[in-house]
Point group: C2
Chain length 383, copies 2
């Protein structure tokens, strides 16, 4: 970004995605410090920000690796020099050739399995190449999405299949995604504790059977924040903490004033009779995620409306309804139309930043002011 | 697409977006015929498919124009040779320079306004250039999103402001988006009738005041399907009918077997104890749209699961829950795990195709078989 004058949010095309660099840095430092205090290493999950520019703030120097959720993200980060990339999703056999290609650029690329069948295919593919495939066994610690329960006999069966020279068994990993269903700090501490116990138990069982286990990986932002004991754990994965969103605020993962990603939108219509303002950020720009409708905090509609500089308005306004390209702001108290004229800009704090950010190719990077200091790319999609 | 063998859905990376060309053609022909029978011209809305390849099937030869929902779409189609492009959303004054640029490539590019303030800015910008800006007045026919009511005095005020040599006043336009809240065919016919009456009344009022009105534009897929009288109307806008989705099926806009767009996904995990299968299409691949949860038809979760060729399974399966990259299939009856092994592929009919398709850059084009006949691009985003 060279030249003069510097671009501004006020002059930017909307809707657009804004990232506050100071907040991102602080969120990253806070999580690194927290993991350090807990005696664990942090593997930042890049599924939220999906940006090489964000990685440099997120990486824990004591670890060096990242997690991702798609092979596309793995390819993106491998091409940009990252070597320890964990795809924290169960792979299907048809994706193994693509995984092999990623290993060429990122020699520590790894992925999850949770079945004997896939483990067998991994071994077959691994034997046909010179350097090993790297695999984590996914443990289900209560979310009941993917993974096998620690007490399931297939824990041993799968790792016995993987116990081949052509495969590096990286360890056991779990994700307590059901932390998102917790409603109190006590519940979150309980989920975090059970997450740890499940994966540690699986590791112990494998070791008792003579199968060495190095990595023991847990993670989700709410459990990382509420974890009090890291005994037996080698790494913590978390991602949404870097950006934050309204749902994470409701869960107590961070404060409203820590949220680093917002959607820049322009007022396009006034309707004083309905006490309604319409902005050009709708269902595509914000996503249809309604996490705060069922969370422990207040229902924030499709997002909380802030002013151009990201400050709260005198009375909180939210996006009450969305259409594809329209967001409707309505309120029980009178809307200050005079402060939000047609053509003026607002910033909208999203419910769930992973969903919202995925609609954009770039971040407009700011540092607390209207000036756009930089533009960061992000990757999206699956191909 | 040259070479041999032809790529197949079975060999495609997932999640991916599949478009059945035969169904798209039939959906396009049906809507063109319907408008012809009604004596109206069709302006296909490209906000759903956002693809130059789809336009050739959608265009009504008696009209030649299209509608879009963003300036990005307008730019995309203008660059590819379309000249009559209506951006069917109220513009904000800051976007006028971009609109002026679009007019260079698409001399019949037009947009909506619904305020005196924006109309004044349009006139100021139009006076500073040689060829006219083209503007529609948006009428609110009951959706209460944007637009002014036909009986509102600002109808006359806005068009008087626009009544300048530098501006082409294209006419009045409305969108009965509240048709999506209708639950019976009677309600849909009623909404379609009120949509027509509102905009015809606005046109009459303007003509009575000596202000000529040429275009009288209505539209939404449900009202286009349920409209019985087009008196006073010059064009019908509709878009989602080209692809169709579960919500449009529930509204009676088309049949389940007409839906042309599906998400190709791969089974990545089995959990017989939970009677659950997990696929690699989650919240990003399907969107979090839950239209069928509140529609007149059955709740289809996050989508209806079909086999690789798009046929219904013996017992209907739906995506019950989604995470960022995981979709969970559960059922009250036993899931046929043996027919859906890990690594096998399914196709998922989405709730709301406008939201789902926006997550992809391409369509894998098929014609009823597993063979990928072509790959079509689509545009996304706002920049």
């Amino acid at each position: 970004m060279h030249g003069n004058p510097k671009p501004t949010l006020a002059g930017a095309a909307t809707p657009a995605l804004v990232l506050d660099l100071g907040r991102l840095k602080a969120n990253c430092e806070r999580m690194k410090n927290r993991c350090r205090e807990l005696g664990a290493r942090l593997r930042p999950h890049m599924k939220t920000l999906k940006s090489i520019d964000a990685v440099r703030y997120a990486i824990d120097p004591s670890h060096g690796g990242i997690a991702v959720a798609t092979l596309n993200e793995a390819e993106y980060f491998a091409k940009r020099g990252l070597t320890d990339i964990q795809c924290a999703v169960c792979i299907s056999p048809d994706k193994l050739p693509r995984a092999v290609d990623i290993l060429r650029g990122a020699p520590r690329f790894s992925f999850f399995v949770d079945s004997v069948q896939t483990a067998q295919r991994v071994v077959e593919v691994a034997r046909s190449r010179s350097s090993p495939l790297r695999v984590w066994l996914e443990i289900d610690s209560g979310e009941h999405r993917t993974g096998v329960a620690a007490e399931d006999p297939s824990v041993l069966e799968i790792v016995r299949v993987l116990n081949q020279p052509a495969v590096v068994f990286e360890g056991v990993a779990t994700h307590a995604g059901h932390s998102y269903r917790a409603r109190t700090p006590e519940q979150l501490r309980d989920v975090a504790n059970r997450e740890r116990i499940a994966v540690v138990r699986a590791a112990q069982k494998l070791r008792a059977a003579g199968l060495p286990v190095e990595g023991v990986s847990v993670g989700s932002t709410p459990t990382a924040v509420h974890l009090s004991n890291t005994e037996g754990i080698t790494e913590v994965r978390a991602g949404v903490y870097m950006a934050g969103d309204l749902f994470q605020v409701a869960l107590g993962s961070l404060r409203l004033e820590d949220v680093a990603v917002t959607v820049l939108a322009t007022v396009i219509s006034h309707n004083p009779a309905l006490n309604q303002i319409v902005v050009d950020a709708g269902a595509l720009a914000l996503s249809k995620d309604r996490s705060t409708a069922v969370g422990p905090g207040p229902d924030m509609g499709y997002g909380l409306v802030l002013d151009l500089l990201g400050h709260r308005l005198a009375s909180d306004l939210t996006i009450i309804d969305v259409h594809q390209e329209h967001g409707e702001i309505r309120s029980n108290s009178r809307i200050p139309f005079e402060h939000l004229p047609i053509g003026s800009k607002v910033r909208i704090l999203p419910n769930h930043v992973c969903m919202t950010a995925a609609m954009y190719e770039h971040y407009l990077v700011v540092e607390g002011s209207d000036a756009v200091e930089d533009i960061w790319e992000r990757t999206n999609g699956w191909s």
